[in-house]
Symmetry: C2
Subunit: 282 residues, 2 copies
């Protein structure tokens, strides 16, 4: 008999993380975790509050809590160019939004800050912000533009243009502005949990890396299954999954640092320590 408890691991309940879930399933590793599915903002809050041990956390939320968290190497959700599910949807092109109201979707931390940085410094317009639940129609009743992430953002890509709205892919805009990939979410472990259970964290980390390999090999199959139930066809989903970047290599870390630097420069997030981010590992 043993008294071990499964690590409490967060999982983003958006299509973008479905490939990682697929890999955890197919490998059987799902049985080794107590998986909590939720929106990214709630998962981040849970990790910070100690209700979760390991999990994805929005880059901005991580920057606010580097003292409690270590990053898991080589794992992220980002894109090196268009991401398709982090969008600014507006009644006119971004460069013409001077004086406009922009509604920021409440489930996003990094996407909305990225939008604010881009509007101020790349499109060079001054705008007012309000936070709203992520419903495009409601948001555009109150504002001239909306920042959405996840499945609603992916849907808006198709639904917005016929309504005469402009969709700006913020992964692509960041790439144009900085020349780097954008990292929207990272995987972190609480430092106290990592110190107490390093073996468990190592296993979970390896399970996620294996899951990523497995799902990349089976992306068309994941897309086909998901297309049965989601409002997107298999080709659209496979294309979406392929654009997502689940790695966190040198270029992605450079993108992460650059985002932290630009956000820090305007006081929108704590500056990353010079040696940061700090990693879990030997």
């Amino acid at each position: 008999m043993n008294g071990a408890r499964r690590p409490r691991v967060g999982h983003i309940q958006f299509l973008n993380c479905l490939p990682l879930y697929w890999g955890l399933m197919r490998s059987g590793e799902l049985l080794n975790v107590d998986l909590h599915k939720d929106a990214p903002d709630r998962l981040g809050a849970g990790l910070v509050a100690g209700e979760l041990d390991i999990g994805p956390i929005s880059l901005v939320e991580y920057l606010h809590h580097t003292e409690e968290l270590l990053l898991l190497p080589d794992l992220a959700v980002g894109s090196d160019g268009p991401v398709r599910s982090v969008n600014l949807i507006s009644t006119r092109p971004p460069a013409e939004l001077g004086g406009a109201r922009v509604a920021l979707g409440s489930t996003s931390r990094t996407g909305v800050l990225l939008a604010q940085l881009l509007l101020a410094d790349y499109y060079q317009v001054e705008t007012d912000y309000l936070r709203c639940p992520p419903d495009l129609t409601e948001m555009l009743l109150e504002a001239d533009a909306a920042v959405l992430i996840g499945d609603v953002a992916l849907r808006a890509q198709y639904e917005a243009p016929p309504r005469g709205l402009v969709v700006t892919d913020l992964g692509q805009a960041w790439r144009e502005w900085s020349g780097l990939p954008m990292v929207f979410a990272v995987w972190a472990v609480r430092r106290d949990f990592a110190a107490a259970h390093p073996g468990v964290v190592k296993d979970v980390h390896e399970a996620f890396l294996r899951s990523r390999e497995l799902c990349l090999a089976e992306l068309d199959q994941v897309a086909e299954v998901a297309a049965r139930w989601e409002p997107f066809d298999a080709v659209t989903l496979a294309d979406y999954f392929r654009r997502l970047d689940f790695s966190l290599g040198e270029r992605q870390v450079a993108g992460l640092r650059e985002f932290a630097r630009r956000a820090g420069a305007v006081g929108a997030a704590p500056t990353l320590p010079a040696a940061g981010p700090e990693w879990f590992g030997p």
Copy 2:
């Protein structure tokens, strides 16, 4: 784009159904269902209330709701002999329980009725009953015997004998009494859902049958993963999984009918129609 919704499928959150979960994972079929994990009594209530479309339901609960439900062929949780996780735990042997108080675990419908039938007709003792939450120590503070199912019953198999308690395996007792396998739970679909979505039900049914095949081939692996986190070692778990009978063939249906007949004879459950049970299928 499509508006299909995943069928709401129940899953028994006990070790006994872990092999079926494993198979759903490994095949990827988990993505095709909206799985609700819970104790069997709550899953049965959910199916009857229309909060679930398909799922396991205790045999007794099914007998009370044959008009709303169809059975999925060849799928059940039962045993042809010892089941190890449906137990009567008593301060003296069952045949000596005349005049005793018996605590019936509140998560069980079929196990507790089986215990009542066996005590009255097989062990031929008259006993008083009370319903309790499934906690062995609490139950034995108020009664001379307790009926437990699931993981707590499996644990009690090991913990009760050193405390001088007698453990009676009710699957084995039924087999001795009737000569037949015992069926504790069946898989059912709501008739209204089956009429509206026959293709979806067929897919879920086939997914479960494939899952059973898959998990039988990988039972040692399931046991090893589960042993990391459960209070049982891999050998114990593999042995437990192998004793469980997930099929519902001719012999099992005969056992189901015989249980319904004996329960009906004492007015403890509605009699099964002569042609029953009614099956989902062409």
